[in-house]
């Protein structure tokens, strides 16, 4: 947990509207765990005022090169251009100065070894699942069920395949993989692997459906949530979600930034979350 004043190593469009940015962060590999996120700041300009939260896609090294440049450790984020901040980000270049605060939050619990692991990713929700897969694959069979609206939303699946993850793609418009919702695939898989651990990240309606399915099948589920965030460190209380047992008299708010973004499904009050006020507009779609 530090504020790194650093530079961008690269920033590329990998699918229409989706970017992949590598940021120089020395020794990040030692501290970043699957499910962690960072608060990203475009250094020199004031708007956007607040930092933007992004999951850590992965950490890595650029090897030392023949010009005598030393090895460089980096963290990588994948982001979708949706508004003011991400639009500015998409215009950043190698060498531009940025600040990242992190790694933040509570990551995934690895669960028991050797049980089937099913990861469910919706669109950009795929991001935190890659580092998770890289860990889980060491001891377990890992399957990725990846869903999106259309072909463009299906990103970096081949990278999971390279890890040895079995991947299943579905799109709502059928433009890639199976036509339909990723939750239909999950239903099928859970009938086949009734003892699987499930890990999911994606839009709220998808997470709700995943939660219902997992509850029915009585399999453990961890979800990574999004929420509007100002501080990212538990200080502002802007990012809360309702925990199980929450009432106005017995508040059980949980900070997404500090107690999450990964929660065990049973920590959360899914009925109350689904109410209108339960999550931000931005995180719905």
């Amino acid at each position: 947990m530090r504020n790194y004043k650093t530079v961008i190593l690269s920033n590329q469009e990998i699918s229409s509207g989706y970017y992949r940015m590598r940021i120089l962060v020395p020794e990040i590999g030692k501290v970043a765990r699957p499910g962690h996120f960072v608060m990203f700041r475009v250094q020199t300009s004031l708007p956007p005022l607040l930092r933007r939260p992004f999951g850590i896609f992965r950490t890595g090294f650029l090897p030392a090169d023949c010009d005598g440049q030393p090895a460089k450790e980096y963290l990588e984020i994948l982001y979708k251009v949706v508004g003011q901040g991400t639009t500015i980000m998409s215009g950043l270049h190698e060498g531009d100065r940025v600040e990242v605060l992190g790694p933040l939050g509570r990551g995934f619990d690895m669960g028991t070894s050797n049980t089937e692991k099913i990861l469910v990713g919706g669109g950009i929700g795929l991001v935190p699942l890659y580092m998770l897969a890289r860990e889980l694959i060491k001891t377990s069979k890992v399957r990725l069920l990846m869903g999106g609206r259309r072909r463009d939303d299906i990103i970096v699946v081949t990278e999971f395949e390279r890890l040895g993850v079995e991947t299943y793609v579905s799109t709502e418009d059928g433009s890639l993989g199976e036509e339909g919702l990723v939750t239909q695939v999950l239903e099928r898989k859970l009938r086949k692997f009734p003892n699987a651990d499930v890990y999911a990240c994606g839009p709220m309606p998808m997470l709700e459906a995943v939660q219902r399915i997992c509850a029915t099948h009585k399999v453990p589920l961890q979800v990574s949530l999004e929420a509007l965030m100002a501080c990212g460190v538990g200080a502002c209380l802007g990012c809360v979600v309702k925990g199980v047992g929450h009432t106005d008299q017995t508040p059980r708010y949980l900070c997404t930034c500090k107690e999450g973004p990964v929660f065990r499904a049973e920590q959360l009050d899914w009925r109350k979350m689904a109410q209108d006020d339960g999550y931000c507009e931005g995180c719905k779609s």
Binding site: M1, R2, N3, R41, L46, P47, P48, L49, L50, R51, E99, L101, A227, L228, M229, A230, C231, G232, V233, G234, A235, C236, L237, G238, C239, V240, V241, H246, T247, D248, Q249, P251, Y253, K258, D276, D277, G278, Y279, C280, E281
Partner: protein, 316 residues
């Protein structure tokens, strides 16, 4: 810029930045604004808590408070709206679970608090009255985001003086009263709380604002309205601090939109004895240490040996 180097050479001693507010001694005049710094521990990984002038906690109430539904925050142009709704652990849990961490830190702790009723204000003050680790109280009569408590007391000089009087009765701790900017004439309220026994005034809390999502046609906050903070409001804050300083004899703490040392200096120059940094902590967790360093550099460059020479030095 050449002037800079020359002046620095002449004054390479470090200036004295220490200030005192209502008997609370601070190493320097920079502290966090309530609600933007949790209970102190959240930012401990990013800065040395012993480097700042004081620690100001999130607002406490008698009982734990749920706060408002989400969404609770929305970014605006150079500002943000919040309607947290004063979610907090309650005064007893604070004393039990949060204070032990703060006890170990050699920096005065100022506890911000509020009540849903007049009596509750009094009771919270009473429970904190004998806690030695609490250096001072900051009485919030200015939160725009909860129906009872807060702003109703802050906009009516009579109600304000009543609550201050009651709290005064229950506690001998240094008492800072935090005012709302959402009033026609802030000097009226300032004078009322001074007369009722406040030791210092903190201003400003947030300006009430609203933002709408034009696609969904819904307010961007579940609470509909929220408090506007950040650099956008700084000119309003500077003006009000200037007015209050002229109107009362007790010290004033300036807050509103401070991001860098230059911003903090504006408040000191119009007469604030200290400043609080709020939203800027979210933008940069090291905002406060940077501001302290910047103030020090400014003093050195300008040949100021004691920060008190600067306070109230406005040329009108």
């Amino acid at each position: 810029m050449t002037g800079r180097a020359m002046k620095t050479d002449k004054n390479d001693r470090r200036p004295n930045l220490a200030v005192e507010i209502a008997g609370i001694r601070m190493k320097n005049p920079v502290m966090p604004a309530s609600g933007t710094f949790g209970y102190g521990e959240e930012y401990a990984p990013y800065l040395d808590l012993e480097q700042i002038g004081a620690i100001v906690t999130k607002g406490l109430s008698l009982n734990p408070k749920a706060g408002n539904p989400t969404p609770r925050i929305a970014e605006t142009v150079s500002g943000m709206l919040n309607a947290i709704g004063l979610q907090n652990v309650g005064v007893d849990a604070f004393i039990q679970y949060k204070l032990p961490f703060l006890r170990e830190i050699n920096t005065p702790v100022i506890v911000n608090f509020f009540g849903n009723t007049l009596e509750e204000y009094g009771e919270v003050a009473r429970r904190l009255a004998d806690i030695p680790e609490v250096a001072g109280l900051e009485l919030n009569i200015s939160c725009p985001n909860v129906k009872q408590g807060g702003i109703v007391f802050g906009t009516d000089p009579k109600a304000a003086s009543e609550v201050v009087g009651l709290v005064r009765k229950h506690s001998k701790k240094p008492l800072i009263v935090k005012l709302t900017p959402n009033v026609t004439d802030i000097t009226v309220v300032a004078r009322a709380v001074e007369a009722a026994g406040a030791d210092a005034i903190c201003c400003i809390n947030t300006l009430t604002g609203m933002a709408v999502d034009v696609k969904t046609r819904k307010p961007r906050l579940a609470n509909k309205t929220g408090g506007l903070s950040g650099p956008a409001i700084r000119p309003v804050a500077v003006r009000m601090v200037h007015q209050v300083v002229q109107a009362v004899k007790i010290p004033v703490i300036g807050v509103g939109g401070i991001v860098c040392a230059m911003d903090a200096l504006e408040f000191l120059i119009v007469g604030a004895t200290a400043v609080q940094v709020g939203t800027a902590n979210f933008v940069d967790p090291r905002a406060m240490p940077n501001i302290i360093e910047g103030i020090e550099t400014f003093c050195i460059e300008e040949g100021i040996s004691d920060i008190r020479e600067l306070i109230g030095s406005i040329q009108l």
